[in-house]
Symmetry: C2
Subunit: 458 residues, 2 copies
């Protein structure tokens, strides 16, 4: 298989300039999904992707309605029934460009300066989509794909993939695959190829504590009723113990224990305590003492206060005893925690600890499941080897602290686990002015994708 | 002395209708201190009061500049060097009248309906000022005042008496008296004559807790830094122990212990726990178990959270780990606590309890001293007896939970203790539409003032 692999890599290198020009063409379409005035451009970007897929001899290429912006689908089963199937996920929509005056060059006229290509969407993620398309082109123009392939390139990622869950649910059979490659996750640095194999889930609450039936004069009533802001503070304070562990009943019961090997890989990551100190500007870190900061944001669940509001918050003083107090509180969850069970756990905590002197209510504002892909799965192994073949070193393995809807939904509705990777860098200014793509890294990424296809074990 | 007292009372009863007409005249002046467009009316009200004082043979009557609206001063020393001196405090300014459409009759055309006189300022406190003026008139027209007298009728009470402290400081000698009668405090009910002999002070803080140097993504950083909203909640929760006692170091050290007799008088007050439940709408009261709710708002200091703000407080969910959290916290103080010492006590608490993982700052936004007049003082005894002579029952004795600047300033700068009383009722709609004065109570009030002057022991 080395010959065909080499031929594909050779093709990619020879066509590099054309690939870059096609990327520039794609980047010229202002497919900003959040602004209604760009709807025709969003549609145009979908058609551009569909045309690319058709030109690669993909079959059943469709621009499929989702209820919002369409998703582009395509497939090819030439490798045969017994060959594995790889699903490639991407999105063709982009973030807005304001403030425009902070851009050095036109965000829709991609410009190369030094080693970088500057344009909105270059890193997030039209560059990544083109890398996967051009890897496949390099193979199909020189031989045949060693695997079956499916594509799901959506148009609403930058606005929360609102309609994608329903779409995946409805088209679960169509999207079925052995694994999904999702190159939207980026890498730690240009010299640190990265695979993200897990995501945290979320359970987001609003807790309201009600005291008196109206704001009271603190002089006339202070000391006779339980101040709801104080009661809320007491409830929040009790949600962690002195070591920073969460006290909600049964909160940790379902937390999957990380293996020694996994923790060793986390320890390899360059995100040292120093990194966290620098990024946050705090004087001292905080959290569960038995876990490193990087572990605390990846393999451990958390409970954070996201907002507080009560009484008088303007300039100066007002001696009010507030009628109510509110906190937004959210838990980041890890496999195999379940948002519904965490809601129940929070309810149990409140029932046990809320005093009779106040009333309270808990709203479940938002939740998201956790996602994890076995570090030993076919997909992770294929991608990891592909990265190693190009960078000459074993990639970093990490779990991400946040949530990504599509990963959870593919796992939940279609049973497809995702291998998150990509060639965007932290300094690429994704979502900001002067977004850019590091071209040497991008070129390596195309090679890594080509290799990945040949690494998939049957 | 009974003869002259009876003559004065007789005079008051015979001139009742004229007194009412003069009150109506006074009420017709829209002396709204907060609105610049009423400045000429405020001035006119001051002149009206000065003219009244002159007509009562007061001497040295002056409309004195304060930096804001003027204060009216007058005095009479006919009783002689050895006789006690009584200072009468009042204010001639009033609250605005909006919303005007909620008034049944014109707020500046006083109208009698049933037993009440409706007009802005009727209860708060032009009616009270006229009651004291007409008590004095009743005496000086029938004999001579048995005491020396001074008047301080200000024009900025409804806007916080901003310039009065400086004025009292500057004119301390002029205002020197054996005690001050301040009829701005009202009574518990028409059948419950009341003397207020103490006021709580205030120490009002803003506590800010700083965590990371910017709002962070709770997925990427949650669990590694001490969430400032959580840290603030922990600090607030620790400010009370489980029994509702305040834990700031030395907080209770200077609290003057109430005598058995004082606590017995507080127990007589009609403000039962039921009253507090009804007024606040809470399911259960809260506070120091060794004290009744009425004691907790009068002879005991408190610590209340007046406001909380941190992070995201809008609709829905945002997974932010906030950079900072803020609480407004204030302590109501009782004699002999000192706001500066309480600030130090709060600082000590924070230094001891704030973790190294956060930074914090404490601002002293506002403070007010406490005030207390001996229940056994000449002024309290004279007024109490006067009330009992008219109502046929011993008055209620209470301390007020709030602060009143003039009382503290007279005590602090001129060494004059105040006896707070008055004939306004809780249902008088002070500061609201349809403010009214209960005329039978007002008439009794004039009699009580007349009696008071004769009760002052030499």
């Amino acid at each position: 298989m080395t010959d065909v692999r080499e031929a594909a890599l050779e093709y990619a290198h020879q066509n590099n300039e054309r690939f870059l020009n096609e990327l520039k063409e794609f980047l010229a379409i202002p497919s900003i999904s959040t602004s209604p005035e760009y709807k025709p451009d969003v549609q145009r970007a979908a058609e551009w992707v569909a045309e690319q897929l058709r030109s690669l001899d993909m079959e059943n290429v469709q621009i499929m309605p989702t209820g919002g912006h369409p998703a582009v689908y395509g497939e090819q089963f030439k490798a045969g029934k017994d060959a594995p199937t790889v699903l490639i996920y991407g999105h063709y929509d982009i973030q807005p460009v304001d403030p425009l005056e902070l851009w050095t060059s036109d965000p829709f006229k991609a410009e190369v300066r030094g080693e970088n290509l500057y344009a909105r969407g270059s890193s997030d993620m039209k560059g990544q989509v083109i890398a996967s398309l051009k890897a496949v082109e390099s193979i199909v123009r020189t031989s045949e794909l060693p695997v079956n392939i499916k594509w799901l390139i959506e148009g609403e990622e930058e606005i929360g993939s609102e309609h994608l869950g329903e779409f995946i649910k409805k088209n679960a059979k169509m999207l079925k695959a052995d694994f999904c490659i999702n190159p939207d996750a980026g890498m730690i640095s240009a010299n640190a190829p990265t695979i993200t194999y897990g995501l945290r889930g979320l359970a987001y609450f609003e807790l309201r504590v009600h005291g008196p039936n109206k704001d009271l004069h603190s002089g006339l009533f202070g000391g006779t009723v339980h101040n709801p802001a104080q009661a809320l503070a007491e409830l929040i304070a009790g949600m962690h113990d002195k070591k920073g562990r969460i006290t909600l009943p049964g909160f940790y019961d379902k937390v999957r224990k990380a293996s020694k090997a996994e923790r060793a890989d986390i320890a390899r990551l360059p995100t040292t305590p120093k990194h966290f100190l620098k990024q946050t500007g705090v004087r001292a870190l905080w959290g569960e003492p038995d876990y490193s900061p990087e572990e605390r944001v990846s393999i451990r669940p958390t409970l954070e206060v996201n907002g507080l509001l009560s009484g008088f918050t303007g300039e100066g003083s007002k001696t009010v005893l507030p009628a109510w107090a509110m906190a937004k509180i959210s838990c980041r969850l890890v496999p195999d925690q379940d948002p519904n069970e965490i809601y129940k756990s929070m309810m149990q905590y409140l029932k046990k600890n809320a005093p009779k002197s106040i009333k309270w209510e808990l709203k479940n504002l938002h939740d998201a499941g956790t996602a994890i892909t076995s570090r030993d799965s076919v997909g992770v192994r294929a991608m990891a080897k592909g990265l190693e073949q190009v960078w000459g070193k074993r990639p970093f393995f990490k779990r991400e602290g946040g949530s990504i809807g599509v990963v959870v939904q593919l796992q939940k509705y279609a049973g497809v686990e995702s291998v998150l990777t990509g060639f965007g860098l932290p300094e690429d200014n994704a979502h900001s002015p002067n977004e850019k793509l590091h071209l040497p890294t991008w070129n390596k990424g195309i090679d890594a994708f080509i290799n990945m296809f040949y690494n998939v074990e049957k």
